[in-house]
């Protein structure tokens, strides 16, 4: 009777930790769109108000070496647009600078 492994309990109904219903809001979306030729636009949508989009854009432009702009959308608020495919760049930047958690960033597109 040295090892009674069978007595260890396992809860099959334990939460799998997959559904974070609490955090369903507040995602930020990074999208990409094709332009003419092999050019693309990356857009960053859903950033909270407390961030200064202008400064963020400035940083983006400097770090990624691309141009960009802030677009005012009626329903979506301010959206940052950058030239080229900067999706992974944006995500890494936001994660590295601890601005946003990786789980809260949704990268769309192909």
């Amino acid at each position: 009777m040295s090892n009674l492994q069978n007595l260890k309990t396992y809860d099959p109904f334990a939460d799998t930790g997959e559904t974070d219903a609490v955090e369903s809001q507040g995602y930020i979306h990074i999208r990409i769109q094709q332009r003419n030729g092999r050019k693309t636009i990356t857009s960053l949508q859903g950033l909270p108000e407390e961030f200064d989009q202008k400064r963020l854009l400035k940083a983006f432009k400097k770090v990624f070496a691309c141009n960009g702009t802030i677009v005012d959308d009626e329903d979506l608020g301010q959206v940052i647009q950058l030239q080229g495919d900067q999706r992974t760049n944006i995500r890494d930047f936001l994660v590295d600078e601890k601005i946003y958690k990786k789980e809260m960033i949704k990268v769309h597109g192909f």
């Binding site: 492994q5 799998t16 094709q34 636009i41």
Partner: protein, 299 residues
Amino acid sequence: MSDAEISAKLENTSLNDDEFADFPKKKKSTKKVLFEDDLDSEAKPKDEANEFEDDAFSELKKKKKKSKKPKTFEDELEDKPAETEEVDESFLDLSSIKKKKKKSKKNMAAFEAELEENSTEKEANSESASRDVWRDSDRDYTYVELLDRFYSILRENNPELAGEKRKYTIVPPQIVRDGNKKSIFVNLPDICKRMHRPPEHVIQYLFAELGTSGSVDGNGGLVIKGRFQQKQIENVLRRYIMEYVTCGTCRSGETILTKENRLYFVQCESCGSIRSVAPIKTGFQAQTVKRSVARRAVA
């Protein structure tokens, strides 16, 4: 399947309840499954699911490796055509998918049993040996030995309960370039049928993700504006499957999508769980054509 049914089925195995209590833990004892388990618990679900879908698509590649392992006649039959097809990477019809599931299970089973050894004989020997070692001697059996015994019995009697993950396979999308600026997703209806999803839903998702538009042609193929390669569409499709097809509880792909009061629900056919899925949102659409051109198009 309800819980009651599952437990009833499990009781049909020639095992007592004590041994069954170890069932979920078995996963942790083998290397491969440990890895998957780790993913389950640590990595965020998205990544995990991603990998799962990766598996689905890379099935063909994996097959080659597995074909070295012991086969039944059935498997062999199934193996050969698949390998010849590898070039165009298409084609698993539904029946072959089923077979594949069986096969991957078998291989997994073999893998678990042998762990490190390669040859069949060794495997058989070691398995039977490990099974009998403690039976003859006086010493206490170890946990691992008992688990092996449990799993070999379970596999013999009802293999469908052996608990390995099934792979969800789907044909790769076929993308044909139409002129310079359009791509046609040829086998969309086929894929939709296999996923049990209305094409409209899939199309909506594709357009939202790709940030473009398009139309359906005469054969049901989807004309997408913009240049897209098969790999890119495959990625998007993979994400679609992850989000709208696989069951959140048992990860099976046998699910149906229903709409109630403007909300979409995914119901699993194999375990019966229902989960709600987010509606497809397009999000921000940047202007990609020249304003003058756009104005002319409207007028």
